[in-house]
Every structure is written in structure tokens, then in C-alpha cells.
Amino acid sequence: MSELLIRNACVIDPINGIDGETMDIAIRDGRIVEDVNDSTAEVVDAGGALTLPGGIDSHTHICGTKVNFGRYMSPEDMRAGRTPRMGRMHATSGYSVPTTYGTSYRYSAMGYTTLLEGAMAPLEARHTHEEFLYTPLQDTLANTLFDGNWAVMEAVRDGDTKRVAAIIGWTLSAVKGFAVKLTNPGGTEAWGWGKNVSCIRDPVPYFEVTPAEMIQTIVRANELLHLPHSVHLHCNNLGTPGNYSCTIGSLGLIPDLNDRRQTLYATHVQFHAYGGSGWDDFCSRSEPIARFVNMRPQIVIDMGQVMFGKTTTMTADGPMEFNLYRLHHNKWSNHDVELETASGIIPVLYRRKNLVNSVMWAIGLELALLTENPWQCLLTTDNPNGAPFVRYPEIIGLLMSKRYRDAEFATVHPETGHRVPLPAIEREMDWHEIAVMTRSGQAKALGVLEIGKGHLGVGAEADVAIYPIRIDEVDPSVEYQKVVDAFRCTDYTIKRGRIVSRRGECLVDGNNTTVWVRPKISDSYDMVRDEEFVRKFDRYYTVRMSNYPVQEEYLRRNLWRRNLCIETEAEL
């Protein structure tokens, strides 16, 4: 039995309605409890420092085949962020696509304890789980791609929502995924024909279904399976001028089907909030999108903030990456995943002197500031697409300080002011809102509150981040640099009751958990018994169906690793 007592913590815990109260937190065996034995427990004195639940990143690309390909193809990136071996820490390298240990240590130093890999192709799930093994300091979850899944598209064409649900349910439990991800639905399949879909009403070649039909059917199927998370959507038409109307069209398809959480999570909306008819009149359309989201509690978005500097873009959206390649003429990688999806990778440099990049930078901030309810707009950079996650502290500073935003705005392309509403936005976020946007909002949106994530109430997992800043002494709108510095490196990051990182130094080896879902489905909807599904699987895939699932043993090959299966009762 291990006990830990955190004294004098200035706690902000939005889920439990605690806003800046100084209190003690008692931890026993990795869970938060009422009290522990003061004389025997290990004591950490927070000294009135800001204490939050462990950070959760609800959309980041950290593990899997495409991330690894980003590493291969950018040896210059691997040179950019090297750290030597130190104590328990392995040597790391890489800046925008670090090694798995690098990712884990840097997230941990920033107080993050749970990460959701944004896009895992089911066929390549093993690689993702393999890399999860070596991301030791965070719990990991994986969004599973269904945007170009042949069986799903056939079922959507037939209007059979239950069959769609059955296929998704079987695949998720086979590959140990956590939620349904749609990346440019239909577009990744059209990419197999060298094409794309321009928006939600464009039919996919051969399958003759539209993205709109796919989104609507899969959203309903998701609710039939009672999955903890909603559908996670990367809208069609990413990164093209004028795409905001397509984004609003996609969001408008979504009914309110769930009273515990949103019905749709739209990711990196910054890349989908562009106005204009070409690059010459490119401008921000964050206002209509934020207004739309404000009126619809069934939608949660994340920022996908762009920060200036070098990074690597990687997404399952193959056709979009090809368009980027044609703009940049640099290296490009492209991949088609059999019956499932596609992907592409290119390195990019976002520059202040570039008007388009400056507008993109502004749009991410506007979305966060114009969305009234912080539970509906979460903080991400779509790491590493907008910027590497190590830039999160600067984004927090920008959201909390108008003065910081103005100082940065003065350095971007001079034309930017005519094209974005950012300079007119006065809002400055407070500590509570930042806590929502970096952990509690994520926990609610992902549906992992029940397993004790994202809050510090009794019974919660003891994931705690103590930041070296006193909220009563610092005025974030003026002393924004102190805020940025504090969020860069915690005093203590505690993961399931163990101190894993102290002032940036990671102290222990892995103890993480992979969380996945298994919907309980009746035999009549069990895909393994479905003759047509099995026949087509064996006909078209390059692997046999029996070799396709990731065995459960695969997730717990180390003694200290845990895997947590959330079982749901599907209505099938």
C-alpha cells in the first residue's frame, strides 16, 4: 500500500466545482481518497502552487506507422531536439516528431498524463500499440479510422445502421481502439482513385455514398454501441480557402443524441475555418463557426492552433497532403491502407512573414476565444500538424493575455489585420477556463470521467500536475511570461499516485495503461459469423481475418503494464 499526501495545493478542479481552493489531496494506491495516515504517507508540499488534474491531450499524433514515417523521412528533425541519457531517462531525439520516450518525457514535464493518438489505421494497429508500450508516462488511447472502410461504406449505402455499428464494434475490439475517427470521410477512399471529394455531397467513386451519409450513419451507429467517446471528425476539404461553409454543413448534420457528452467531436477546426475564394483573398471565418458551435451543445471542437516555426504535418488525409506537397515542393510521403484509409506526411515551416500562415495562427486563437463555453473548444495544436505539443504553454499565455496577443500580432504579416477579427477580441481566459480546455473538457468529451480521469474527486485516478505558479500573486494578462514558464515545466507530475516527473526530470520507468473499448454485441450481429463480411475480408485484404486482431496479450507484455477495457452494452 502506497500513500501520498499533497499539502497546501491550490486546486482547480472544474468537474467537482473547485476553483482555486487551498486544500490537501490524499492518495492511496493510485486513487484519490478522503484521507491517509499523516505519519506514514509520503508528503509533497505544494506550497500554494497551482494544482490541476493531470493534463489530457484529446488529439495528438504520437504513435503509429505514419508518425514513425515522419521520423524516418526527417533526419534533420531528429537532430533538432537531442537530450542525453540522464538518471532514469533514456536519450531522446527529435523536435516535431520526437522518439516515443522524448514524447513521453516532454508531455510529462508539462503535466500531461493521458494522450489520445488521433488516427490509427486498424490494419496498422499493432505498430501503434507497440509504440504505446514505449510511451511509459502517459495512459494511451487510440482513435481508429473508419473513413474509407469498404464494409462500412457498403453498409452505409444499404442504409443499414446496425450493420455499420456491428462492423465498427468488431473492428474496435479487434484492434483495441478507443473511438471512431473519420478523416476526410470518403475522401481517403477517393484518393485510391487519385481523386478527392470536394465536400459532403460529393459521392465516393464506386461506393456511391456521400460523406454526409457516412457521417450521419456512423454518428448514429456510434450511439447504438454506447461508446464512451463520440465520433471524432476531421471534416472534408481541409486547408482550402472557403472551406468554412463545408465545415458548417458537416456540423449541421449532427443531431443531439447523447445527454452525457457531445454527439460529435470536430477536430483541428482551425484548418477548416477559412474564407475567401483563393489564396489571394484568404481570410478567417472563425466567427460563423464559433457562433454555430455556441448554439449547439452537441458539438465539441478543438483548436488545432498553428504556431510559427518548423514542424511536420501528418494525417490520414492523403489527398490534402498531396495538395500541400504541390505548394511546398519538399519531401512528401504518401500511403494507402488497403480497404481502410490513406495517409500523407510533409515537413512544413510556418512563417510570420507569410500572410496565410499568419491568418492560420489567428484563426486558432479566435476559435478558442469566440467559443463562449470552454467545454466546447479544447486546446490542441493537432500535434505536430499545427505545432509540436511543446508549444502549448505559449498558447495558454496567448489565451490568457490580450497584451501578449497584441505583442505577437505586431510581428506577423502586416496584411493580417484586414483579414482576421483577432485584434478586436478582448476576452482573456482565466485559470478555470484553461483547466477546462486542457484536462477536464477533454475528460468529459472523451467520456473517461467514469474511469477517473480529468478530476480530483474521491475515487479518481491520482493523476495530478503541480505547476510552479501562485494564481493569487500573478496577473496573467500582464505577467504572461510567468504563466508560459510555469506551464512549461511542472514542479511535480503525479501519475496514478507516483511522482513521475519533478521539475522536468522524469523519475520512474513506465506504468501506463492502454484504454480500449469492447461493445458487447449479440451473436446475430457478430461479424466473425457474417459470411459476406468474412468472404470479402479474405478476398480483398492482404492479411487473413484470423491474423488481423491485436491480441490482448499484446497490450500487456510488460508486467507493470495494465490494459483497461471499457465494455459497453450495444443495442444490437
Partner: protein, 255 residues
């Protein structure tokens, strides 16, 4: 000030030594520095017998002389900004990485990556240099940006890859793909080479001998006279909309 480093006989002479600390500036405050062999950090005088004559106020007044079996001493002169290094024999890989000033003189041969991503200064190699002489590093788009590399012998493959500025002079022949991806600077090869300047977008290259396996994506412009010789002028690489200039004494296309 002259610092003479004579390599002591080593028990395992085939193990390379990482000696990025051998830079004139580092000797201004004594020779109390270290080098690495594998994962072992060794004091400088465990590997070299060190002798110092005179003293110096600035790095420019420091001359480092290396003697003995230096063929596996790597990264000598990395980030060097002033002064002089004289290597009497051969030198290991990555000599003069990122150097921005001063002079390195090598009496023997140089191993791979001589003067990689060099910013300024000069390197003179009396023998041959191996692959990737004066090139950029893996993945990066910019190689050498300034300074001079002069090799009196021949060089290996990918010489002056990603060349962006400065001058590279090879008195012997170059291997395959000399000047690949170059976008600035000058490359002069007095001997022969194969497939020069693939994908070049800018800069100037001269091949006084014969360019074998000449790439078909270079457009022939005409002939010019220079230094009493006739060169065939090409521009390219048009496969990449390049506007580089390539002058060759003679060329042969692949059969």
C-alpha cells in the same frame, strides 16, 4: 601558441575517438579537456601526448598540430571559428563540421563528411577525401554556405551535395553525384566525374575532364572559352525547373 597533439599508441587502434573538443578556441585556457571513445570520456592526454609552446590571447593565434595515427579521430575542428589546425597524416570523419572561420590543413587523406555544413573558413586536403565532402547532412536542404574546401586528390560520391554557397575545388576526380541538389556556390572539378549536379537549382559547376553518365535533363546552351579551355555549357536541372550552370570539358551520356 602552438599545441602539438601526438597520438599515443592505443590498445585498440580501430576504435574511433570523438574529438569535437579539438578546436583552437578551447586551448586558450589550457589543455584540460576530454574526448570520447565509445561511451568512455577520456582526458585529452590519455589519447595524445600534449605539448604547448608559447601563449595566445585570441583563438586566431592558436595553431593545433596533430601527429601520428589520426585516421580515426573524428569531428576535429567542429564549430571552429578561428585559428589553424594542421593534421600531418590522415583525419577521421566529420572534420570541420559547421566551421565558420580559420584554416584546417590536412597532409594525408580525409574520411567522409569533410567540411560538412561549413559556414566559412578554409579546408585544404593534400590527399583524397572520401564521400560527402563539403556536403549537407541527411535530410537537410542546405549544405555548405560559405568558405573554401580544396582537395588536391580525388573525392568520393556526393561531393558538395546541397551546396548553397562558398567554393569547393577538387584537383582530382569526383565520384558519383557530385554537386547533387546544389543551389548556390561554385564547384570546380579538374578531373572526371559521373552524373554531376543532379537536381541542381542554382550555382555554378565546372568539370574540366569528362562527365560520364551525363543527365539528360540538362539543356545544352553552347560552348564557352575559359582559362584557355573550351567548355560545353549546360543549364538545369530542368527536371526541377533549375537554373544552375554546368560547364563540362566533355560529356558522355549513358548508353
Amino acid at each position: 601558441m602552438r599545441v602539438t597533439l601526438t597520438v599515443r599508441p592505443r590498445e585498440k587502434p580501430f576504435l574511433p575517438i570523438e574529438a569535437e573538443t579539438i578546436v583552437p578556441r578551447n586551448f586558450l585556457d589550457g589543455t584540460d579537456t576530454t574526448v570520447w571513445r565509445g561511451n568512455r570520456e577520456l582526458p585529452l592526454d590519455a589519447v595524445f601526448s600534449v605539448s604547448v609552446e608559447g601563449n595566445a590571447e585570441t583563438a586566431a593565434e592558436v595553431e593545433v598540430v596533430m601527429r601520428g595515427d589520426t585516421a580515426l579521430i573524428k569531428r576535429v575542428g567542429e564549430y571552429m571559428d578561428a585559428g589553424r589546425i594542421v593534421v600531418e597524416g590522415d583525419i577521421g570523419m566529420h572534420c570541420g563540421n559547421f566551421m565558420s572561420g580559420g584554416t584546417i590543413e590536412i597532409g594525408g587523406n580525409a574520411d567522409g563528411w569533410l567540411g560538412r555544413e561549413m559556414r566559412g573558413g578554409s579546408i585544404i586536403c593534400r590527399g583524397d577525401a572520401a564521400d560527402y565532402c563539403a556536403s549537407g547532412y541527411r535530410g537537410d536542404k542546405k549544405g555548405m554556405t560559405g568558405g573554401v574546401v580544396e582537395v588536391f586528390g580525388s573525392v568520393g560520391d556526393f561531393a558538395a551535395e546541397h551546396l548553397a554557397g562558398g567554393t569547393v575545388i577538387v584537383h582530382g576526380s569526383a565520384g558519383d553525384m557530385a554537386g547533387a541538389e546544389m543551389h548556390g556556390g561554385t564547384l570546380i572539378i579538374y578531373g572526371d566525374c559521373t552524373r554531376p549536379c543532379a537536381n541542381m537549382t542554382g550555382g555554378t559547376a565546372f568539370v574540366h575532364g569528362t562527365a560520364y553518365d551525363m543527365l539528360p535533363t540538362f539543356r545544352r546552351v553552347g560552348t564557352i572559352r575559359r582559362e584557355g579551355r573550351t567548355f560545353i555549357q549546360f543549364t538545369g536541372d530542368i527536371a526541377n525547373r533549375g537554373k544552375g550552370n554546368l560547364f563540362v570539358g566533355d560529356c558522355r551520356y549513358m548508353d
